[in-house]
Symmetry: C2
Subunit: 364 residues, 2 copies
């Protein structure tokens, strides 16, 4: 018995293969947002999606240290108290898992089996990352910035601390913060207690939790999570294209009442206000379309006031629900021209599958 038997390569599900025991273990640990919780502007912890690669580390805020090192004029080390003295900013951020939608792909990449619910919006409070980098003094030979978390494990045979890199420009220009509060309270353990990175607009893999080190390096970062895991690929041995910002997506709050097992919806005939949230990591949302006939015809939803950030935007749509079965579907457009597709293209990692949500309702 070797490491390779215990930590195997990724694979695609066979035709008709149900969700596996491995996928179920991940689905039981990690969780999405129950779609009715899209009603909250800011998602309470416990409803915000969570994806933990390895184990949630045991952490002690009193002794936690964040090291800043590498290609800097002055390496620095901060405890939580010293870090709080560096500045304080609160940003509202919609985070989504890069694997959201994976389990709906065909063939299905075997990994965390998200359907469409791996999203949440929180207010993160911390110090802007550029302030920390400027305090340390980024040297001219700097290329990338590497963020290391305290979670440790194996993936496809590779032992690692969870690590992600950004270019120096991304680290300075993306609005990233090093956060110690979520929604005005200390971070919950599963969201990175006591300290995490939050990179607005990027899929969640960039927002390293349990952050203990920031290293500036003079070459491109080729760590596992940047160079191997989070890549758009058609074939396993391609270099692939990096997964970065969040593709546009709209999700409806399912109307009416659910069946426990199927989650099918029952709606009373008459006027129904459909509502939901839409977001994109590329630019603010400028338009959401709703279809109540499975995509045959589309109408514009009403949008609430535009926001200055990339957090989700509320939309509503007045529906006159007539008796019978209906399929509701929605799609989002952002200001930079990114459009949510009805069917997103397949990729082998199952990333960024923003195919339009479909909700089946019975109007009675």
């Amino acid at each position: 018995m070797t490491v390779e038997n215990f930590s195997t390569k990724s694979r695609l599900a066979d035709t008709g293969e149900g969700i596996t025991g491995d996928e179920l273990q991940l689905a039981a640990r990690n969780h999405g947002i129950p779609l009715e919780a899209l009603r909250y502007d800011v998602t309470p912890p416990g409803l915000h999606y969570v994806l933990v690669h390895y184990d949630i580390p045991a952490a002690n805020a009193a002794t936690w240290q964040l090291e800043i090192s590498g290609c800097v004029e002055q390496p620095l080390s901060f405890g939580l108290t010293a870090l709080r003295a560096m500045g304080r900013e609160t940003v509202r951020v919609t985070l989504e898992c890069a694997g959201n939608g994976r389990a709906a792909l065909n063939p299905r990449p075997i990994s965390q089996p998200w359907l469409a619910e791996a999203v949440g919006t929180a207010e993160w409070t911390g110090v802007p990352l550029p302030d920390l980098l400027r305090a340390a003094g980024v040297r001219e030979d700097a290329i990338d910035v590497v963020f290391t978390g305290a979670d440790h494990g194996f993936e496809r045979g590779v032992e690692q601390d969870y690590q992600r890199g950004l270019t120096v420009r991304e680290a300075l220009d993306s609005g990233a913060i090093v956060a110690w509060e979520m929604n005005g309270h200390p971070l919950p353990p599963q969201h990175g207690y006591p300290l995490r990175l939050v990179v607005p607009g990027w899929y969640g893999m960039a927002s390293v939790k349990w952050l203990r080190s920031i290293e500036v390096i003079d070459h491109e970062f080729t760590g596992y999570q940047n160079a191997v895991a989070y890549r758009f690929r058609q074939e396993p041995h391609e270099p692939g294209v990096a997964v970065t910002r969040i593709e546009p997506r709209a999700l409806l709050i399912p109307p009416g009442h659910p069946d426990f097992m199927s989650r099918h919806r029952f709606v009373a005939a008459g006027p129904v206000v459909l509502s939901g949230r839409a977001w994109s990591g590329w630019a603010p949302i400028e338009r959401v379309e709703v279809s109540v006939d499975a995509g045959v015809s589309w109408s514009d939803a009403k949008l609430d006031a535009p926001s200055n950030d990339l957090s989700w935007r509320l939309f509503t749509y007045d529906w006159d629900a007539r008796p019978g079965e209906h399929v509701l579907t929605v799609r989002a457009y952002d200001e930079s021209g990114h459009v949510q597709p009805i069917e997103a293209p397949w990729n082998r990692g199952g990333f960024a599958n923003n195919s339009a949500q479909r909700i089946t309702v019975l109007v009675t």
Copy 2:
């Protein structure tokens, strides 16, 4: 298209049938405790298991009313402020879903597909249920007490508010409280905000969330969740036996570091302190056994100080980990003679499957 097509009967998985899309939808909404979070004496919200039958209701604490009615001398209605004036008690309670372990059964009942992680321990603060019943004055003809939540939906074709009944004796003697705080904070939405019942020792289905009514009735309650859903049965048309108190179970915190996909564990050779939690709804835990050879031989774990309640008990075991593959397993015994089996008997609803946990580790 009728209600019956949208809300179908329960069924068993076919031989070799993977987890279905319906099961996955439930697993993505609801979640268990990541097993490493067994390290916390009290489980933070977001790590404590959650099972929501229908949707989390939108709730306003300022206007919330709890009605007490039926076979009482004086029907009462309480807003949150009035309820707080009735008393305040904090109880530490281990809650477990009755369906915990269901997905490991063969054949597998199709429903929320828990493996072994549907558990959590919280400190619930509220007013003792007997104080409320005594304030209303339970009449001599009273038989059962019916608790109704604000969540509404369909199950197997039956439209319903979530409702559960207890006998008057159970309502008075089980230590139940009507709670508005979890771990010192207002209840999170998914745990019943603003008000819920908590019945210590009972599987979670008894602890009705989003509690809005307590009705005392002069006959046996035959509502869906008591008479149809939560019953031990071998065949679908049997009346079955009511699911009530929590069967004993022990869970280890998986040692070492995990593989992302398989959750297999890697452990460094040498002394390892294994630890975990054990609980029973029948009586305090008096013994936990650990096996590091897949159940061939067993040793007693060390238990921490006994508690006065039915909340979980910490155990530890010193293991000298030798290189190679090992299967770790544990079992719990309570003071009333309830013993956790290696393999629990099958039942059609998939309830109370407390078969012993097995963790595969590679010592390197």
